[in-house]
Amino acid sequence: MKLVTAIIQPHRVDEVRAAIEAVGVKGVTVSEAAGYGRQKGHTEVYRGAEYTVDLVPKTRLEILVEDADAVAVTDAIVSAAQTGKIGDGKVWVVPVDDVARVRTGEHGADAL
């Protein structure tokens, strides 16, 4: 199994959720984050002061999938989250040794 983690713009969450459901994803874990990458260093002016804002709010999605689905899910996320502007985010895939469903104690692919 794989864990697909996506850092996306908060306002694209609904689109991304729809897209991954369309490719068969059954569950997801969502949390708040902030980050920077290439978009680093945009300048804001506030109350007479100018400064660099580097940490921009993002949403993190974590999705457990079967090995075979990792690519499809990644692609679905990328296309649904894309606005073409800097700061759109990152998606990465990590190998998973095992998954367990708490409710039933099932393991492996059955637990997804």
Binding site: E44, V45, Y46, R47, G48, A49, Y51, V53
Partner: protein, 411 residues
């Protein structure tokens, strides 16, 4: 017994007391999450310390018989308000307390310039000493028949300054003290580089709203009667901050492209500050002018700290010193011939002497308050110390000084 006026001053005193917790929210909301409580505790402790000291000695210094050539009132006979509390004139009794609420908020206003970095114990000592040695005498000068009244240095002058509710005593005084205290303390780590944005803007707006509400007592209560002049003051206290809010937002819109909620809240306070000395002197049209100029001037002034490098963290100087000066000086132009003072400003047929008197009064307060604040601040610095360590400042003063954080986030 004019029970109507007593009722109004009982109400006004209550309103003014509410203004200090309002300052706690106005400033507390502007703080960063890690120093909210310390910011609020500076206001709360001002109520405690100054509330107590006003009863013990401050009232006597402020309202006692003029001594030392108008420098202060003689507190003997009024220790612990022993004299006044047996007075059968209800108005006199409640006015004695009313004055205390002014002392409290003046001290609380100063705290905005020292956010995030002043030792709480140092603040408490500062508040106590400053209230007695700076605020109480100055209030005597202006309202107790002292130095800056028609019985003082203006005795043989053509006119005496107009300051119905404390442009000099409260705002210029607090503003200059805030500047000096910030200079002695030094800038915060990250000042001018990190954003340090308000952590909770609704709290800032709550503070501004409660301040405005309380300010009706502050200004219209300073008429010391429920009459037509109190009503005129009320109207001016409505319209000046309304206009200052709009003109502040206009400056932001033109300069930065966006009208902010912090700007609206600050504009309201700037307008309130500026109309404070002038509310009985000017017409509603005059109040509109005062508000407009205050909003523009203060919106520009809050950026100066970055140019000059003093860390007036929450803009005590930009709002109270500048706003207080705007209102105090504009009286010299806008005081009407129909005002309660019957001493018109330049635009209403008067001469330059009123403007001169206003400027002189402002100057004297600035000099006295500035020097005394520096002395008190240095005295504390070299004894118990003024500032927390850099570690504490970075990690957050709330937990280090008060053992608490404002919000419990992990449930």
């Amino acid at each position: 017994m004019d029970s109507g006026s007593i009722a109004w001053i009982l109400t006004s005193a209550s309103l003014v007391l509410l203004m200090t917790p309002a300052v706690a929210f106005f400033y507390g909301g502007m703080s960063r999450t890690k120093s909210v409580l310390n910011m609020m505790m500076m206001s709360f402790s001002a109520v405690g310390v100054v509330g107590l000291l006003w009863i013990v000695v401050g009232f006597g210094i402020s309202a006692g018989t003029t001594t030392a050539g108008g420098l202060f009132g003689n507190p003997s006979g009024e220790w612990f308000m022993q004299g006044i509390f047996q007075n059968e004139d209800g108005l006199a009794v409640i006015l004695a307390a009313f004055g205390g609420t002014f002392a409290i908020i003046t001290v609380a206003l100063i705290s905005g310039s020292v956010a995030d970095r002043m030792k709480f114990s140092a603040w408490v000592v500062f508040a106590a000493v400053w209230a007695v040695l700076v605020y109480a005498p100055i209030s005597h000068w202006v309202w107790g028949g002292g130095l800056l009244s028609s019985d003082g240095i203006f005795k043989n002058f053509l006119t005496s300054p107009q300051d119905i509710a404390g442009g000099t005593v409260v705002h210029i005084n607090a503003g200059i003290a805030g500047l000096v205290l910030a200079l002695v303390l030094g800038v915060r780590k990250g000042f001018g580089k990190e954003p340090m944005r308000p952590h909770n803007l609704p709290f800032v707006m709550l503070g501004a709203a409660l301040l405005w509400f309380g300010w009706f007592g502050f200004n219209a209560g300073s008429e010391w009667a429920a009459d037509n002049f109190a009503a005129q003051i009320w109207i001016n206290t409505l319209v000046a901050p309304s206009v200052a809010m709009l003109s502040w937002l206009l400056v932001e819109k033109i300069r930065d492209g966006k009208a902010t909620s912090l700007g609206a809240a600050s504009g309201v306070v700037a307008g309130l500050v500026a109309i404070t000395p002038a509310a009985l002197s000017v017409s509603p049209l005059g109040a509109i002018v005062v508000g407009f100029i205050a909003g523009v001037a203060c919106a520009m002034a809050v950026g100066l700290k970055y140019k000059f490098g003093y860390d007036d963290s929450l803009d005590v100087v930009g709002v109270h010193l500048v706003g207080g000066l705007v209102g105090t000086l504009l009286i010299g132009f806008l005081s009407t011939d129909t005002s309660a003072y019957a001493d018109p400003g330049l635009l209403y047929g008067g001469g330059w002497q009123l403007l001169g008197a206003q400027a002189l009064a402002a100057l004297i307060v600035i000099v006295y308050s500035g020097i005394m604040t520096a002395i008190i601040a240095y005295a504390i610095k070299f004894t118990i110390g003024l500032r927390v360590s850099e570690d504490v400042e970075v990690a957050g003063i709330d937990f280090a000084e008060h053992g608490e954080t404002a919000y419990e986030e992990v449930r």
